[in-house]
Structure formats: structure tokens, C-alpha cells
Subunit: 397 residues, 2 copies
């Protein structure tokens, strides 16, 4: 058989991790703190049924929903993004500065198509979202970690690394970060936008958890401080509407949107019209504010249960992030416990998490005593049982 | 702003054509023989409504449809592809040799991710589908045309060009080809599979029109003759179910599927679960055979109307392809009419087609007197009016 492309070999180590993550969650008896899914109890099943019924009863709208659509996305949905999701955060986007994508991650892929040549540097957080590292590696970018503290990326180190490596892009999840749950403070957001402009670097702001806030004050996105168009704002409907509809959006300057349009046509033409029409109608009918309240309440209860269980069942000396929102917390175990090795035993005890090591691009053994724990798609009861299983295992070491 | 990646510059000439195609069809008064959409009257609006209603009433299934799903795709849909679509054509696929993609075109993108290094050669038909050329150029492949006759690719020229250029891939639409409507005969299909094996070249068989046959005998896909796994079979649900659901599939050897899995996770994780669940249910409930009959009848009538109108309104000496199925015919005008120049006047007369030149990768002015005419999403009445407008214009030259 013909050789695979070089990029497939370059991405293989991370692809192996990703394959492992996708293949992990199969056992029905296992309580999984692994994946990044939101609460299934919060999915708007009844609302979607009602909308489908109405949309598909009107002949014209039904045909539109099932026919080819616009590359940039269904106009009503782009308008809803501008009016309902961006304007209240201080971002004044026009519909031609928006592109609807097939799930939030697709923006990372398309922006790499637009900007990344093999060998280009992308600066990332330490730790960062491993799934996006896979994307960056498929484009043969070199990922370099910026030092992080309890508030996320350190601006001094970011500026030094920009000067040292001349990156094409900085990838950051500023709010309830994946995997740590940390949030970047306002002054750092402002600084990051300024650094992008000053050094001519794209700031890729990935903000899918922003709306899921359970405590603390709402912060403005980095994009709000962008004066030059260097910040690209990526978000997803997976957490606030439905992951299975595979919808996300990107807000960027028109010059970038034109190229994203090209990359999108050469990837899959456009995003599912049916899913977009349903989602647009969800916003048009005004369901969003109540729905958001509901899912925040569900996830807040789970966050609180999770934090209490770490306190209760994990050994003294355990460090943890208290996330003001999102789906994750990050735990650093005391002593010399290797979380990658521990996972096998944890799975035998029917509990699952994601080992910390894979989230670091440094590759120097960092994060070996860490774990990402998701509280999104587990009930408080499951959290109690699963965290006791996990805590007992850890304490037995 | 930072420079765009080299691939964006390499694809720019074709991207410009594609942008033009997408931006063309806006005027409601214009009768368009341009795009490749199937008849909107054939879209299964009522069936989809019924299915949504049922699926989203069952709590568990509703949640599944709106939650994250498998990278390879919803199991029921892959099983339907194997049982209902592939087995009757003589292809015995297992579910782990299948990947569900976000619309048929995505397979071309993912297979390029897996195989194409910059500078690799892809052999294509002359003319070929310009949208896929855009994809190949985004991967910085060099597209080289194989000579075609009334039956499609000429096998002697294909073999010579394989020997001369050592391509990584041959891209072919064997059935009711886009843009010409031609169909590759069985002996050439067999030969093509053999050439792939013999010279270690991937044969990318793109077969989205296969099911839309209105006359003539069903032919086996190239994949049926593949003994070595070199042929990759791509197909779409756009023509037989709904373009707006953005669903397609690829059938390939497991070794290739594993890499396509990696490329898919690094593109958009997976295809819309909701769309897949609806489509799977469409097959499970047995709607497909009757639906296919219905849409073939609609499109057959339009094909016949179109061929009669070319006869009636186009000048003597016009050459045309009689397509046994699909959505297109290909017309070669007599004399020195340039169809790219003519298009402006045609649009003023409120009729639209796609000029032939853009479908040739040779770039030597080939196809300047040709046009692709789609009869998919225009009624027989619109065909009559639109073709009279177009014929009158051509005859006035």
C-alpha cells in the first residue's frame, strides 16, 4: 500500500492518546469522569422535538432544512450568534464575520488550514487540550508550552516565548480551561490581545465553556480587547445546546473569514442545514435564557458534589482547582502516584478519569501525578460512588 | 496580519471559481441549471418529521441523538450502509470498514489528510469535479488530467500516466460523472482496480450518483474488483436522502479506516449524531426502496425534459451527453461560443449554468465552448422556459 502522508506520522503519538480516549468509555458499569460531555439530563430533547415538528410541517422550511445551504451557515443562526451570544459579551459582530462550523473543534482545523505551514510554532497552555494538540500536529506545527500558574498563562513567559519562537498562533482556552478548569483574569486577557497585535500573532481564543458559569463574575473575552483583528474567537453549541448536533462558530475579521470560507468548502462544503435550522429556532423562540439557567443549575450541583468528594475521599496534600464553571477540575496527587499507571486499576474498580500526562506538550513527564476529572455527565450520586472508589484506590497506595 | 499558509495561495485560482459558484445562485427569478442539488420536491420532509417525533419522544434515544457520538459513526447507520447500500452491489463491508462523514466531499478531504504530501500527483478525469480539485489543491497535490472519451477515462492513457507520474491517487466518478453525466463501462472498472493494485496507487472511487439510475443496466462499482484494498469507495446520502443532513460514508480497508479515524478526530471529532440517527431510522423503517423509486421518477422526467429541450432549442451541431442517471448533462456548443463570456448575458436573461472551462485542470482553454447543465432541482416547466431562454441566446450568436 502507498505510504501515508508525513503528517500522519508526525501526529501518531498524540493520535494514539486520542484513540485511547475515544475507545475508553464503553463499559456501562463504569462511572466515567473521563469525557467532556455535558449532562445528558440537560439536553433539550423536548424542545428539539417541538421545533422539528413545526419546521418540518411547513413545506418550504422543511425543504430548506433538508437541502444544501450556505457555506457561512444559516443566516438566522449567524444572526442569533451575533445578537444573543456575542453582543451581550461586548462583541459587535456582523453576520459576515461569522462562520458556522461542524462542532467547535472544526474551527481549530480550519484556522490551521488558513495559517499553518509545517514547522510553524503554536504556543499553548501548560497543560492544554490534547485534542487540539492532535489537530495542530496534523498540520505539522510545533507546539510549545507557555508557563501557567493558578490563573492560567503567565504573560511574562508568553511575551518571552513570542520573542524567542516567533509563533504564528497562540492557542488559549481562557475560561474554565480544559483540562484544568482555570480562568484567565481580565488584565491578562487584555494583555494577550495587545501582545497579538504588537507581535503580529494570531490569538486563537477557544471559549466553549464561557456560558457555563456557576460562581464568580463574568469576564470579557480576549476578543473584546482586540483592536487589530489578530484575535479569532471560537465557540461551540455543544455545551449550551447539544453536542450531537455538531455546531460551533467562529468570529473573525472578514479577511480571515474569506479564507475560512475557502477552507470550509474544501473540507465539507457546509455544516448540517437541519441542525442549524433547529438551533436557530431554539434561539428565535427565546428558549435559551431559561435553558441556560437549567443546565447551569444541574452542573453547579455536580461541581459542588465533586469538590466535596475530593475533600472527603482524596488523601491529604491533594491539590485541586476550584472551577467557577465548565465541566472539569484538575487534581494533583501528593507523593509519587503515577496516574497513567493507576488508571488500569481504577478501570478494574469501575471508575474512569483522564491521566494528566497527555495534556502536556513538554513531554518531560510533567503531570504524571495529575488527573482531569469531569463532572459534566455524572449525577451527584454517581460522583459520590465513583469518587469513593477512586479515593479508596489512591489512599491504598 | 500574519501570512496565510502556502496552501491557501496554491488553491486560490480554484477557490476563486468555487466562491463564484456559491455566490451565483441568489436571484429568485433566475432559472438555475447551475448547482448540483437534487429535486427539493423529492426531499423526505414528512418522513423526517415522523422519525424526529418518534426518536425524540423516547427519552434515552433522544438524549443519545443530542449527545456526543462515535468517531466512526452511529452503528445503526453503518450497519444500514453495509446491508442496504453495499451488499446488494456486491460489496461485503463490515461496520469497522466504514466511516460516516459530514457530507460526501469530506471523504476527499480526509483521504488527502491520510495520503497526500505536497507535490504528490493525483490523476483526475478530463473534465473533473472542480470542487474536489479545490480540495486536492488545498493539500498542494498536483492534479493531472487523464484523457477521456464518451465512456470516461481511457485506460491506455491512465496506465501511461501512472507510469509517467507515479501518482499517489486516481480520482474518478465512475457513474453519471460530474460534470459530464458519463458512465465508465464494466471492463474499464475492472481494469482500473487492477491498475491500482499493480502500480500501488489508491483508486478513489466517488460514487454519489450511483443510485439515481433512470435507464440502462446497473454496473458494479470499481471496489467490487479490488483484490488488494487499493480502492477506496466514497458515497453520499445527499442525493438519496437529504443534502442538508450532510451525511456521507467511506468504505475502505481497516488499515486506512484507522488513519481516517485519526484525520476525522482532528477535523471535527465526528458527524452530527442527530442527522445520523434520523438517517439510520429512515433505512431501518424500510422507507428507502419506495423513496428511491419516487426520486428516480422525478429526476427521470426532468432528464427527459432537459434532453428534449436541448434538441429543440440548441443550435444544430450541439453535442450532448445522454446521462442514464444522476443530475447533469454536458453540452458542447458548435462554433466559437465562449460559455464563460456567455454566462453574463445568460444571467441577464435570468438563466444560469456552469461554464465548462473550470472543470479542466489542463488550463489550456479546454472546454471553453462547453457547459454543465443540471436538471436536478428544476421542474419540467422551468426546464422548458429556461432552456428556451438559453437556446435563444446561443442561437443569436
Amino acid at each position: 500500500m502507498p505510504n501515508f502522508a508525513q503528517r500522519m506520522l508526525d501526529m501518531e503519538p498524540t493520535a494514539k492518546i486520542i484513540r485511547g480516549l475515544f475507545n475508553a468509555m464503553s463499559d456501562a458499569d463504569t462511572i466515567s469522569f473521563g469525557g467532556g460531555a455535558p449532562a445528558k439530563e440537560g439536553l433539550p430533547v423536548d424542545i428539539v422535538r417541538e421545533i422539528c415538528n413545526d419546521v418540518l410541517t411547513t413545506e418550504k422550511r422543511g425543504m430548506e432544512a433538508l437541502q444544501y445551504g450556505s457555506v457561512l451557515g444559516v443566516l438566522d443562526l449567524r444572526q442569533a450568534v451575533a445578537d444573543v451570544l456575542l453582543a451581550p459579551k461586548g462583541m459587535q459582530a456582523s453576520v459576515d464575520e461569522l462562520l458556522i462550523v461542524n462542532g467547535g473543534l472544526e474551527t481549530m482545523n480550519l484556522l490551521c488550514q488558513v495559517y499553518i505551514n509545517p514547522g510553524d510554532v503554536i504556543l499553548v497552555e501548560s497543560p492544554t487540550f490534547v485534542h487540539c494538540v492532535e489537530i495542530f500536529e496534523m498540520f505539522q506545527a510545533k507546539c510549545i508550552a507557555v508557563e501557567c500558574d493558578a490563573d492560567g498563562m503567565q504573560m511574562e513567559d508568553l511575551e518571552e516565548k513570542i520573542q524567542q519562537y516567533h509563533p504564528k498562533m497562540v492557542y488559549v482556552i481562557p475560561t474554565f480551561q480544559n483540562p484544568t478548569g482555570k480562568t484567565l483574569p481580565t488584565e491578562r486577557r487584555k494583555k494577550m490581545a495587545e501582545l497579538g497585535s504588537q507581535y503580529d500573532v494570531i490569538i486563537l481564543e477557544d471559549d466553549p465553556y464561557q456560558e457555563l458559569r456557576y460562581s464568580g463574575e463574568v469576564l470579557p473575552p480576549i476578543k473584546c480587547f482586540d483592536q487589530t483583528g489578530h484575535t479569532v474567537y471560537a465557540n461551540s453549541f455543544s455545551k449550551i445546546f447539544s453536542p450531537g448536533s455538531r455546531l460551533g462558530y467562529v468570529y473573525a475579521d472578514k479577511e480571515i473569514i474569506i479564507r475560512l470560507f475557502d477552507a470550509k468548502t474544501a473540507t465539507n462544503s457546509h455544516t448540517s442545514t437541519l441542525a442549524q435550522v433547529i438551533c436557530a429556532e431554539f434561539f428565535r423562540r427565546g428558549y435559551y435564557p431559561e435553558h441556560l439557567k437549567k443546565i447551569c443549575a444541574i452542573h453547579r450541583e455536580r461541581r459542588d458534589a465533586m469538590m466535596a468528594c475530593i475533600e472527603k475521599y482524596f488523601p491529604e496534600g491533594t491539590k485541586k482547582v476550584y472551577p467557577d464553571g465548565g465541566l472539569f477540575t484538575w487534581v494533583e496527587l501528593p507523593g509519587k502516584i503515577n496516574t497513567t499507571e493507576l488508571l488500569k486499576e481504577a478501570n478494574e474498580r469501575k471508575v474512569h478519569y483522564i491521566a494528566g500526562e497527555g495534556f502536556f506538550v513538554e513531554g518531560n513527564g510533567k503531570g504524571q501525578n495529575c488527573m482531569r476529572i469531569s463532572f459534566g455527565n455524572v449525577t451527584p450520586e454517581q460522583i459520590e460512588i465513583g469518587m469513593k472508589r477512586l479515593g479508596d484506590l489512591i489512599c491504598s497506595k
